[in-house]
Each structure stands twice: as C-alpha cells, then as structure tokens.
Amino acid sequence: MAALLEALDLTKHYDVETGGFFRRTRTALRAVDGVNLTIEPGETLGLVGESGCGKSTLGRLLIRLIPATRGQILFDGQELTRLNPRELRAARKGMQIVFQDPFGALNPRMSVEETVMEPLLIHGSRRGPATREAVTRMLDKVGLPDSARYRFPHEFSGGQRQRIGIARALILNPKLVICDEPVSALDVSVQAQIVNLLSDLQRELGLTYLFIAHDLGVVKHISTRVAVMYLGKVVEIADKRSLYARPSHPYTQALLASVPVTHPSHRKRGSAREARITGDIPTALAPPPGCRFHTRCPHVMPVCRTDEPAMRAAGVAHQAACHLLPA
C-alpha cells in the first residue's frame, strides 16, 4: 500500500541571534534536521522524545503549518512543499491538527458551534441547515451534548475542551490528524477518556494519526509504530511491540528505563538501575558532532564523536541510527 505521507530529508532551521549586544551573530537552530518518515494509511505513528527534540516542529512541518527549510513532503500523492497557497488550502482539508493546550487552542469569543463550523465555512460551505446538521453529528461523535453548541469555551472543563478541538479537526473529514500532545494537559482521570475517544474515532472514520507525546505509556497504548526523536533527528523507528520489547538505540533504552515503575516492589535503586543517562539534552543551536546522543550515551565509542550514524536495520520493520548496530 502506498504511504499516506512521506517526508524526505525534512529540515527546519530557525535563525536565531546569539551573543551579547555588541557581538551579535546569527546561528541556525536545527529544530528538525534531515528527517525521513512515512505514515501508512490507517496507522497511528507515535512520535516521542524529550522537550526540545523537535517533535512538535516536525508535526507542524508535515502539514506545512510552518514552511520547511529543506526537504519534501508527499501527502496523498501531492508534493506539499511546492503547492501555492490556494492549492495548499485545498490540501489542508485532508490534514488537520489537535493541539496540546485546550485552553489556548480555542477562541474564547467563539461559541462551540462557530468553532466547529468554521473549517467548513473556510472551505466553501455556506452557513445553513446542512452545516448546522454537520456540527450536530460531530458533537455527538465526540461525546458532547447538542446543547453545548451555544456555549463558550470557558464553560467547559479541559477534557470537554479537548473534545471541541477534536470536533473542529474532524469536521472536514481529514485523512491525517496530527495529535500534538492531546492529553498531556489533562488530569489523569480524564486522559483515558480522550485516548479512548481518539481510538474509537480512528476505527469509525478510518483516520490516520501522528500521535506526538512524551508519555511513553500512552504512546505504547495508542500507536501502531513508534518513532523516537532526539535533537532534531529520528534515532529509532519500529513497530510498537518491537520497539518496547527490544529498544536498540541507547537513547530509547534510557527513555524506557526512566519511566517510573508501576508497582513499588519493582523499585530499583543505585546500581540496579540500568541504562541510566545523566545530564540534559544539549542545545539545538550547537548539536554535538557525530552522533548527537554521544555526550550522554553510556556506550559511547570514538567513532560516535566524529561520524553521524545512518539508519540501520535492527530487526524486522525496526531501524535505529547507532554505530553499535552492524552496518
């Protein structure tokens, strides 16, 4: 089956001014650096990594919410980076995004009906019984009562607001939905409802998700495949089971080892903790040469400091960029 979305050498550099007032220099912040990625129709690709690794930037790049510095994006047979504004707008019908912060993502002065209907109006529908009917169906799908339509965002809790955001994203019947940390701002007892809702909607509407999150448990639950990002690069990508059972990149191993235990009897202290990494993520203004993880890697070798590892096979449908793997 042809991929729904394919990204080739996708790169985003931001120009930033650094240095003091008198010695200002421009440096490129490498937010996303040469990412190759495919998303198959109907799957959920999980995208994990620490803050500042570029996962949100990548999500926005893929649907051209921000322009790429370099690289190509093939979505549904179209080259997104070459589209003119009008063609891009038409293509956007097929790809939508759900944001992390349900408080900031909704216009406080628009009623729920206006918010959910707006994408339809932007894409040429006339306000009328048909669009109102579409809003009714959508509200029902995301589990909001029809009476919600005349109310405003501040009247809703975080979980309900996220339902409004999902309704707005899905009203155009998109193929691909970028879910950018859709549950991390919610209370834990509400997160499961939204995760279940997203799963149900995927099954019902045949959606494809890119699910960006830092919570490895949630990503494991919802994803088909998982990609791990570190400092602007995808360092490992694999089927969910393979990735969680046999993480190949030392960074993935460290991430998984850092997840808190699920029962107090599994506690490990001191030397019993394996694959622990120290220090913080380096700055994307001056990423380390060679493998970007080498400054924190417990298995660092001389070659890691000079040569950047390419993606290598680490199993069936499992790739990682690490010199430890056989070339």
Partner: protein, 323 residues
C-alpha cells in the same frame, strides 16, 4: 516521635461567589525519614494542604476553619510569624512545580542559595559560599563554582529544579515538601531528580511529603500514601498495600486508567465524567457522580474514613460490597 501531625485540617477560600472549601478534615502523620505521597488531581486540595503546613496560605482570602498542624511539638497554626519564619528552612522546606517562576530572575543562583543560609545562620561570606557550592554539587550541578554566578535563565529546566532543591535543602530541613517536583520535567530528568531525593533522604534522614498526580512517582518513592479527591482524603495506606489492594473506587480508577509499559489493553478503563469544581462539589461522597459503584446512600451522606485493615483506611460506603 512523630515529626508532623496534621489533624482534621479544614481550609476555605473567600471568593466572589461565597466561601469555597478547599480541604476538608484531612489528617495524617509523618515520622522522621519517611516519605508520604499525596496523590490527587487538580482541585483535590493537595497543594493547599502543603501551603497550610508551610504557613504560606494568604489569609485572607484563605481561612483555616479547623484542625491542627503539629510539627515537632509546635502548633504551627498558632506560631507567631517570626517563629514560623525561623522554622522554614531548617525545619520545613518546600520545592514547587514551576522552577522558572520560583527563582528570582534578577539574582544569580549563588546569591539565592546564600541568602537562604544567611537568613538562618550567621556565617562568614567565605563559609557561606563554600556551603552553597557544596550543596550545588550535591544536587548534581556540574562545575558548581562556575555556576554560582549564573542567572536562572541560563540554566535548563532540570538544572533549575536542582537549584530549587539546593535552596530548599541547604539548611538541612527535617521535612521537605515537594509539590509536583518533576511534573514539568522530562522522564530522564524526572528519574534523576527522584533518585536524588531518595539519596538525600537516606543521607540526611529527612522526611518528605511528595505531592503528585502521577502514580508512577508514588510507586518509585513513597512509603505511605494519601489519596485525595475534591478536598477530602479517600484512602490512606502503606504503598505496597495500596497498589496491591486499593479499596476506594477512585484509587482503583487512578491505578487502572493510566496505560503502563508492562501491559497491553485494547481499551483504557476510563473514569467517566469530569472533576467537580470546588464550588460545585456533589453532596455526599464527592466521587459519587463518577463512581461506577455508587448507590443512593453515597449521595446522601459523606462516607467517613474508616480503617479496614491495619494501617489501611478508606472513605467509601461500598468497600465491603466491591469485587
């Protein structure tokens, strides 16, 4: 001897819409060197409880309506401001969730640590500096001496939280209150900070109140756990006991609704509904509106916290009927 004893603490806030109760009848105690986990979501009253112990609730609008807080025999609610101030630091210290807003952006981190030392002890400038550097090293800041002259914005989030810890710990408190100390941090940094807290507890024998919404953090650190919902204690137990045999439907829900790495589920077991706003809490059991086991009795009266096993209490009318 018990280090901290909180009994029947009830606090409320004066708001435009009348007086709203934040915490109701919360009781717990803590021994030296023990880690008490307080679990709860937004509006559960866990942070208000912490601020009440610290004497940092702004009064008004906050009001302590009842209860007592005893720390090493002192009645904290009756303590004059001056004595409370002397106690904060060497007695009780606190770290907050947001390390950026809790540090002063216009002072170097060295000045902020030394200010804390000088507020409680008369030491020479040189000794003070050395103490601060030593503390920064202890919390895992590399090249600590050079870092002393850094401003908070020059540090990463994980390092700022370490600096907050250094400030809290520099006077060797007997009790540390950590209010969501790792919530804003990435998992790799969270793991480092939690391990650091455990090491410091072992080294100094300080007690910790670990406030979190994350059951994983509880599983990693706590000796005993208090589960709060909408301002009330719903369950209290030793940590193993709580994870093995949770009694209250809310605790059970919390434990099962979070997907974990060691199990596969087709569907998450979600807790239905939303958290009640403090001004619109249901009558009777606060959880009754979302509880799959609720019966009429649950909305008629508030279930009292009852002991079901040794050291294991829950506030639910239906504990004995639950599967």
């Amino acid at each position: 001897m018990t280090l901290l004893e909180v009994s029947d603490l009830t606090t409320s806030f004066q708001t435009g819409g009348g007086e709203v109760t934040a915490v109701e009848n919360v009781s717990f105690s803590l021994e030296k060197g023990q880690i008490l986990g307080i679990v709860g979501e937004s509006g559960s009253g866990k942070s208000v409880t912490a601020l009440a112990i610290m004497g940092l609730l702004p009064r008004p609008p906050a009001r302590i309506r009842g209860g007592r807080i005893h720390f090493e025999g002192h009645d904290l609610l009756r303590l004059p401001d001056r004595s409370m101030q002397r106690l904060r630091g060497p007695g009780i210290a606190m770290v907050f969730q947001e390390p950026m807003t809790s540090l002063n952006p216009v002072f170097t981190i060295g000045e902020q640590i030394m200010e804390t030392i000088r507020a409680h002890e008369s030491v020479s400038q040189k000794a003070c500096f050395a103490r601060a550097v030593e503390m920064l090293e202890k919390v895992g800041i590399p090249s600590a001496t050079a870092r002393m002259t850094d401003y908070p914005h020059q540090l990463s989030g994980g390092q700022r939280q370490r600096v907050m810890l250094a400030i809290a710990l520099v006077c060797r408190p007997r009790l540390l209150i950590a209010d969501e100390p790792t919530t804003a941090l990435d998992v790799t940094i969270q793991a480092q900070i939690l391990e650091l807290l455990m090491d410091l507890r072992d080294e100094f024998g300080m007690a910790i109140i670990m406030i979190t919404h994350n059951m994983g953090v509880i599983a990693e650190t706590a000796d005993r756990v208090l589960v709060m919902y909408a301002g009330r204690t719903v369950e209290q137990a030793k940590v193993d006991r709580l994870f093995d045999h949770p009694l209250h439907p809310y605790t059970r829900g919390l434990l099962s609704c979070v997907p974990t790495l060691d199990q596969d589920q087709d569907r998450l077991i979600a807790i239905p509904g939303n958290l009640p706003e403090p001004s619109r809490r249901p009558s009777g059991c606060r959880f009754s509106a979302r509880c799959p086991h609720a019966v009429q009795a649950c909305s008629d009266a508030i279930p009292p916290l009852e002991l079901y096993e040794r050291d294991h209490a829950a506030a639910c009318f239906r504990v004995r009927d639950l599967p």
